[in-house]
Every structure is written in C-alpha cells, then in structure tokens.
C-alpha cells in the first residue's frame, strides 16, 4: 500500500512545483480569451479561445518547471528554453487550430500548409520562449520558496536559487559594513 501512496505524493509534489510554468503558459495562451470576456463576447467563444491555446501552453510550461526543478534544465538558461519552445510552441498552435475548428465548425482539420505553418510558428517561438523565461524567472523562485516547507522538490530547487541569493546578500551586508565604516571615518 505504501508504494502507490508514495507515487501519489510524488505526483502531487511535482504538480505543485509545476504551477509557475503552468501559470505563465496558460496566461500567455489565454490572453486573447480573457480580453474577449472584458469586451462582453459570448462566454462559450471566450472559453474556446482561452482553453485551446492556454491549456497546451500551460501544460508544456508546467513540464518546463518540472524539468528545472529536477535539475534537467539549467536555471534561467535561454538556450534550453528556446529549444523547448521550438518544439512546444508550434505543436500548441497546431492543436489550437485543430481544436478551434473542431469545436466551432464540427469538422476535423488543420491549416492548409501544415509544414509552412509549423516553420513559421517555430520562428515565432523564440520570442515566446524569451517572454516565458523572463516571467518564469520572476515568479517561480517565489512560489518554490512558499512551497519549500512541505515540498522537498521545491525546497531543493529553491535552495539552488537561495545559494545564489546568499552570495548577493553577503555582498550587500559587506556593502553596509563598508558604508558604516566610511561614515565613522
């Protein structure tokens, strides 16, 4: 009985760790849908626009957070994020095209020139990766810090950020001491 329990706990742990990536991906993908709600579009319409792109980007964002937490991806590195979204972003956009068409028209199909479509999305993905990384680096360490009390994976990844912050903190303390010393002089 303990084995499935441990498995479930592990899944819960990773799910918690993955939230910042999910939040950034979902927010970015559902921006258009959220705007629709503001201007009073039908809720159904807004939901389709928000979910069709927000969900895949959110899920992939969550995977990215987990990869960082498990130490598979370098903290804050641009190249790995770029590579990750080079594949992830075009696939998310393709799934959005297919899903939206399916929900709104009831037909199954994708964009006319799939290869050209994917190539274009691949190029755009660099911009998305940049913005994603930018926001992720702002949100994730704070979230992991909050979770670090009850989540060992969050604690480990936060520790990596914290050891960096400690160096910065020590530098700041040293600065304070120097300033006080120069005042006393």
């Amino acid at each position: 009985m303990t084995v499935p329990n441990r498995g479930a706990a592990r899944v819960r742990e990773l799910a918690e760790v993955s939230r910042p990536g999910f939040a950034v991906g979902f927010l970015a993908g559902s921006v258009a849908g959220l705007m629709a709600l503001i201007v009073g579009q039908p809720i159904g319409w807004a939901m389709v626009s928000a979910l069709a792109l927000g969900l895949p980007l959110g899920l992939l964002g969550a995977v990215y957070s987990v990869l960082i937490a498990l130490g598979k991806v370098r903290l804050g590195g641009f190249a790995p994020a770029c590579l990750f979204w080079l594949i992830g972003f075009p696939l998310s956009r393709l799934s959005q095209e297919v899903l939206t068409r399916l929900v709104l028209t009831g037909e199954l199909g994708g964009p006319p020139d799939v290869l050209g479509f994917l190539a274009y999305q691949g190029l755009i993905s660099a911009g998305f990766a940049f913005g994603f990384l930018w926001m992720h680096e702002r949100l994730a360490p704070r979230w992991w810090h909050r979770m670090s009390g009850q989540n060992p994976t969050a604690l480990r990844v936060y520790d990596r950020y914290a050891s960096h912050a400690r160096v910065m903190w020590e530098a700041r303390e040293a600065r304070k001491r120097r300033r006080e010393a120069s005042k006393a002089r």
């Binding site: 950034v24 970015a28 804050g76 999305q121 940049f130």
Partner: protein
C-alpha cells in the same frame, strides 16, 4: 591616481590621508572596494526600465509605418539605430558603475552648464502628458472609458504608487518586468496567429539590406519622419541618461555605496546621500577582475535583454502591420497618411476580421500595455533625474532628502499633466512642438559628446573605453546631430 585636469593627490597619498580620485572640478571621489559582480549572468538588471521606456510608439507604430510605405528593406536603419543605442547603454553604464554617479554629475564634472542644459531640456520635453494619449486611447477602444479620464486616473495612481513604495526601484523593477514579459509573450502569440512565413522573413532579411535608401524618402515630408524613427529606435531623448540613475539604485558596481531612493512615505528611512560618488582602485588586479565581471553582466543585459526584446517587439509589430495591410488595403492608406489613432483602429479591425473580434481587442490591449509601461518608466525617470541634479547642484537643496525632491518633481509633473490634459494641448503648445522635437534629438547627439568627454577624461586610464567604442559613440554624435541639422537645412523641417 590623478586626472589629466587636476594634479595632486593620487593613490600614493600621505599615510593617514584618504586616497581619492580627482575628476574635474567637483569633490574628489574616495577610493572604496568594488563589490563582487553577480555570479550568474542571467539575472535581470535595470535594463527593464530602458526596455519599458524604449519599446514605445517607435516600435509599435513608426517602424511598421515605414515598412508599409518603403518596404521591409528600410529596417536596416532600425538595426543601426538600436545597435547604436546598445553601445550607448554600455558606455552610460561604464561611468555609472565605475563611480556610482549619474551621467548628469559626470557632465557637471566636465562643465556644469552642460548639466543645466539637460536639466532644462528634461523639463521642456517631458512635462507634456501627450505620451499618455496613445495607450489611454487604446484603452478607450476596449472599455469605452474616455481616454482623458483614464489618463488622469493613471497619473494619480502612478503618484500614489511611487509615494507609498518603500524602495521605489524594487517595486518598479518587478512591475515593469512582469508587464514586459506579458508584452513579449502576448505579441508573440498574436503574431503567431495573424502573421505568415513571408511577412516574417521579409521583415528579418530587410534588416540586412544595408545602404538602401528609397528616393521617395528624400523629401521634406518623409526625411524628417525617417530621421525621427531612427532617433526613436529604442530609448530616445534623455532616457539613456536616466538609465544611469537606475543602475546606481540597483546597486550595480560602485552604485552599491550610494543609498537607495525611497518613496515619500518612507523618506525618513533614507540614509544620508554622500556628496559625490566613489572610485575603486584600478591598479589592483583583484578589483579589475571584479570590474570585468560587472562589464560582462551589463553587456549581457545590453545585448540579450535590451537589443533582443526591442528587436522581438518591433519584428512582431511589423509582421502585424503587414498582415493587417494585406487583410484590409485601407490600413495601408491610413498608416501612410499618418493618422495614428485611425491607423491603429484599422489594424485592430483587420485582425478582428482575420481572427475574430477578440484578436482586434487583444491588439488594443497591447498598445495600452505599451502606454502603461512607458508612463510608469517615464514619470519615475524624469523625477529621479531632476531630483538628482537639484539635490547635488541647487544651493540649499540638501536640506531636503532626495526622496522629498523626487516626490516634489513627481507630483509637479502629475498635477501639471492633469491640468494640461483637461485644459491645454497634451503634446505641448503647437508653436513649440518643433522646438521640443529638435531638443529631444539634439539631447541624444549631446549625450554622445558628453559620454566621450566623461569616459575619456574623468575615469582612470585602465577603465576608459577602447578606441573602437569611442569611434561608435563619435559616429553616434555625428549621426544624430548630422541628420538633425541636414533635415533642418536641406528641408527646413526638424525631426518628426
């Protein structure tokens, strides 16, 4: 150590006497230790301010407009403009990180009237609240709330926000970083929905068409617009100078020896501001190792964050404009005609037609977001710059704390802005618009000259710029001033 101007003192001062670095006519800078640079380069620095200020109407409107009129080949001029600004940014950082002083104090060390020129120019150019109009007008399109109301409420909110903050820099860096992140991912998502492979490749390849200059741009109507667009590629006017204040407040380099600026409510906690900056021992190899670390950090900031984000946003907006023009030929006519709000509305309509009304709204949302970023950055920077110059160079100003002076300039510009929005011309009186445009571009040429003087005369030899960096900044001075005066004398018009 000693400068070429002032003999005496130097590092080998008599035992018991403090070692100082003499630069120009102001107080000498005491020698202190340079802090360790951040161990990892991926940490974001104060460049977010420059990006927030720089990614404005130039990127989202002026350049897409030029691409529609003259074709994507004209973008090589944008490449030159932004690259030049990246080098300017690195050179601004050189002085600020080496001394903890703003570039304004550096200018005063060379010759005080130069600093007063920037003090007056900042007031003349930046007190007009016109920059709020594009963002607030876009917000009106989404919500129906009249733009003047939004602009006035935004002004008061900005004032309250900056007055209540404990440490203004930290608050603003976090807010701007999130907003810019949202802008970058959001424009990427929208461009991915409405753009095409062709639009993107022509936009990118157009950047390398070096030397292309259409004959249609060599007239009184278009030349000033092209010059204005180059000058406004990335941060324009005095924005780069304010960046030195943000660098100092972020604790970069010797800025770590200067106390942080606090919001009005926490002004009492502000430590005493020293009369001048500090210098580190450039003859010490350990200190020079740390200096190189700081230079690496700021170079990363300049190249990847500043250059990269500015490029990404303009490429996205150019792709958007091209696809809008294809969807609706009226867009091209309106954009060419120069009516900004009509052109933006037509672009929004084109996206609405292509991807549903949601997309049209999202487009306006991003224009509003750009406006908000620029407003937050501009009000803070203006007040910071004026407070800095007043504190150090106006007699009797040291009775107040820097935070009080900051709050004074902030609320003055806010109250003036509200009055003008309701009762006057938002961009400034019609009669002086040309003078303001002239001053803004002239300031850019002038700061290139100031940079050359400050970095080559006021800093110790080992940390002075290399010859090729001087060459690029010198080119910048000739470029901005040359284009400005050519436009003035050949066509009788200043930049637009």
């Amino acid at each position: 150590m000693e400068t070429s101007k002032t003999p005496a003192a130097g590092p080998k001062a008599v035992a018991g006497e403090e070692r100082v670095w003499r630069a120009g006519r102001l107080d000498p800078m005491p020698i202190r230790t340079l802090p360790e640079p951040p161990p990892s380069v991926h940490l974001l620095g104060p460049t977010v301010f420059l990006v927030a200020l720089g990614v404005g109407m130039g990127e989202s409107y002026m350049w897409p407009r030029l691409v529609l009129v003259f074709g994507p080949e004209i973008r090589w001029l944008f490449l030159i403009g932004v690259t030049l600004q990246a080098v300017v940014m690195l050179e601004m950082a050189r002085y600020a990180m080496a001394t903890g002083e703003s570039i304004f104090t550096g200018a005063a060390r060379v010759f005080k009237p130069i600093m007063w020129f920037f003090f007056v120019t900042a007031i003349l150019v930046y007190i007009w609240p016109g920059h709020l109009s594009a963002g607030a007008a876009a917000f009106e399109q989404i919500t129906g709330i009249p733009w003047v109301v939004t602009a006035c409420v935004a002004l008061v909110l900005v004032g309250i926000l900056f007055s209540l903050a404990r440490v203004i820099y930290n608050l603003l860096e976090n807010v701007l970083a999130l907003l810019i992140g949202l802008l970058v991912v959001g424009t990427a998502v929208i461009a991915s929905m409405v753009g095409s492979w062709g639009d993107l490749t022509t936009t990118i390849t157009g950047m390398f068409n070096i030397g292309y200059f259409p004959s249609g741009a060599m007239n009184a109507e278009w030349f000033p617009i092209v010059v204005g667009a180059i000058a406004f590629a990335g941060p324009s006017g005095m924005q780069q100078m304010w960046y030195t204040l943000h660098l100092r407040d972020s604790g970069a380099g010797m800025g770590s020896h200067i106390p942080k600026l606090r919001g009005l409510r926490h002004a009492g906690e502000e430590e005493e501001m020293p009369n001048r900056g500090f210098m580190f021992d450039t003859e010490n190899t350990e200190e020079m190792r740390k200096w190189k670390g700081w230079r690496r950090w700021v170079t990363f900031d300049a190249l990847l964050l500043f250059w990269g984000v500015t490029m990404l946003v303009t490429i996205s907006f150019t792709v958007l404009a091209q696809s809008a023009a294809r969807a609706n030929p009226d867009v091209k006519t309106l954009i060419e005609g120069g009516d900004r709000s009509a052109a933006l509305a037509a672009m929004s309509d084109a996206f609405a037609a292509a991807g549903g009304s949601v997309l049209g709204t999202a487009f306006f949302g991003f224009i509003a977001l750009i406006g908000l970023n620029a407003t937050l950055g501009l009000f803070d920077s203006f007040s910071r710059g004026q407070a800095d110059m007043t504190y150090f160079f106006v007699k009797g100003a040291k009775r107040f704390k820097m935070s009080h002076l900051y709050a004074f300039f902030l609320w003055a510009v806010i109250i003036f802005g509200i009055l003008i929005l309701n009762f006057g011309p938002a961009d400034g009186p019609e009669a002086v618009l040309d003078i303001l445009a002239f001053l803004s571009t002239f300031a850019m040429g002038a700061y290139c000259v100031v940079l050359l003087l400050v970095n080559n005369k006021m800093l110790p030899k080992p940390i002075r710029p290399k010859w090729w960096t001087n060459g690029i900044i010198g080119f910048g001075a000739v470029f901005y001033l040359g284009m400005l005066f050519f436009s003035l004398f050949a066509f009788g018009v200043v930049v637009d």
